[in-house]
């Protein structure tokens, strides 16, 4: 027994623990956990975006508040980046294994019907996900690393010069192609969450004959609400918000 204990504590402790998340069950725990984390992030992001409806001052104040978090912001950003990376890397690994598990496919494909949850959403997770990943890079480059105060995007907030993110957003969404592209990706995000939300719970082992039905319905509602929430903003800006005069 002591011998066995000694052997267990030999080098390789880390690889042993990590092996938990390198099985068919463990990998899905990671994608599920990170997926739910991303849903929480998206909810927060949407809530912040809605300050645009109040006006330029509210939105710029919100953006400035985030930026003035200082080191804490970096910690949050690195954490968020890690969640994204784990979600994407594990999803790609899982999907490539799944594709490889059936090299000789069927001549005819069919659907078994209820109670199956297989649908367009569940079968396109990797595609909607990859499009979202590309979108996020473009999105961050466009706004977070877009023109700042140095390029004249300055706004006076309570006597302090802050970045005029509001003007950048409004200018961007006055371009019909950006509006259309943005809305199309938000639609795909809804499709992704349609399967992803309940699937994450199932991957974490949370199944209940009654609650799972509720979680599935909540997933559909959440997907629709998030897609709609992100839809409304660019359309509102395109149609109703005046371009600020510099």
């Amino acid at each position: 027994m002591q011998q066995a204990d000694k052997q267990m504590s030999r080098p390789g402790v880390l690889s042993a623990v990590l092996s938990i998340f390198n099985t068919s069950v463990g990998r899905k725990v990671i994608t599920g956990l990170t997926g739910l984390g991303l849903v929480v992030f998206i909810l927060g992001h949407l809530a912040g975006n809605l300050s645009l409806f109040i006006g330029a001052e509210a939105f710029n104040a919100y953006a400035h508040k985030l930026e003035s978090l200082g080191p804490l912001l970096y910690v949050i950003e690195i954490g968020l980046l890690a969640v994204f990376v784990f979600h994407i890397v594990y999803a790609i690994a899982v999907t490539s294994q799944n594709k490889a598990a059936r090299k000789a496919g069927y001549v005819q494909h069919g659907d078994a019907g209820k109670p199956s949850q297989k649908n367009l959403s569940s079968q396109t997770m990797i595609y909607t996900g990859l499009i979202l990943a590309v979108f996020i890079v473009v999105h961050v480059v466009m706004f977070k690393f877009g023109p700042g105060m140095g390029s004249g995007y300055a706004y006076e907030l309570h006597g302090e010069q802050v970045r005029d993110l509001h003007r950048l957003v409004v200018e961007s969404f006055k371009n019909i192609w950006i509006v259309l592209g943005y809305c199309a990706v938000m639609l795909l995000m809804g499709v992704h969450i349609r399967h992803g939300f309940w699937s994450a719970f199932q991957s974490l082992g949370a199944y209940h004959p009654r609650y799972t039905r509720l979680i599935q319905s909540a997933g559909v509602l959440l997907a629709a609400a998030l897609a709609l929430g992100f839809f409304v903003l660019p359309i509102y800006i395109y149609l109703f918000v005046e371009l600020p005069t510099v």
């Binding site: 799944n98 199956s116 082992g205």
Partner: protein, 255 residues
Amino acid sequence: MSNLNLTLKIWRQPSPDAPGAMHTYKVDNISTHMSFLEMLDVLNERLVKEGKEPVEFDYDCREGICGTCGLVINGVAHGPRKLTATCQLHMREFKDGDVITIEPWRANAFPVIKDLVVDRGAFDRIVAKGGYTSVNTGNARDANEIPIGKEDADKAFDAAACIGCAACVAACPNASASLFVSAKVAQYAHLPQGHPERERRVLKMVQQMDAEGFGNCSNHGECEAVCPKGISISNIALMRREYMKAALKTGAAVV
């Protein structure tokens, strides 16, 4: 009911390594009272009389309880009828003039042996890793010695109803064996019997499942819809809980 004239498109493959292809056959005057396998028997009798090689397919009991038969019929494992194995599927489910596609279970872990017969030895190797309970030798113990609640007994029985036909793997877009393995884990997880092996059972069975080359479970739930015994994907969630508890306690994915 009038009899059926059907066109069958069947996967023919002479040996594991030989290339296969879909072949088309006509069968006439099929009684709607026949089972699907009896319909194939009619075809095979004719092929034998014509001096041709009959279509190879698996079956044993033809009562829907042994789990030996299994065909993908028009893209759906075990065909169109719910909670029904291929042998219990009857021709009344089809219409005159139908074209029926018949394929073997498809998964790398289930190589085709011949025509519609696949090697499901991977399931046996998974079960060998943990589908047992330790018992005391000596006299048989009284059957009702250990009291077990009705709810637990029901859940264990629901999982134990799995006949190991592998339709879950065939239907899964990822060729995952999660429903089968979870049923084999769950049938013991609700009972005091087999408790000493509880942790190593789930870890070793998951390890073997992965080693056999099955895919990961993406929660499509197609498996539950084709299962002739209606095994619920709640068992897959249970297997994941069992796995995480056992793996975190052990500190590794293997014991």
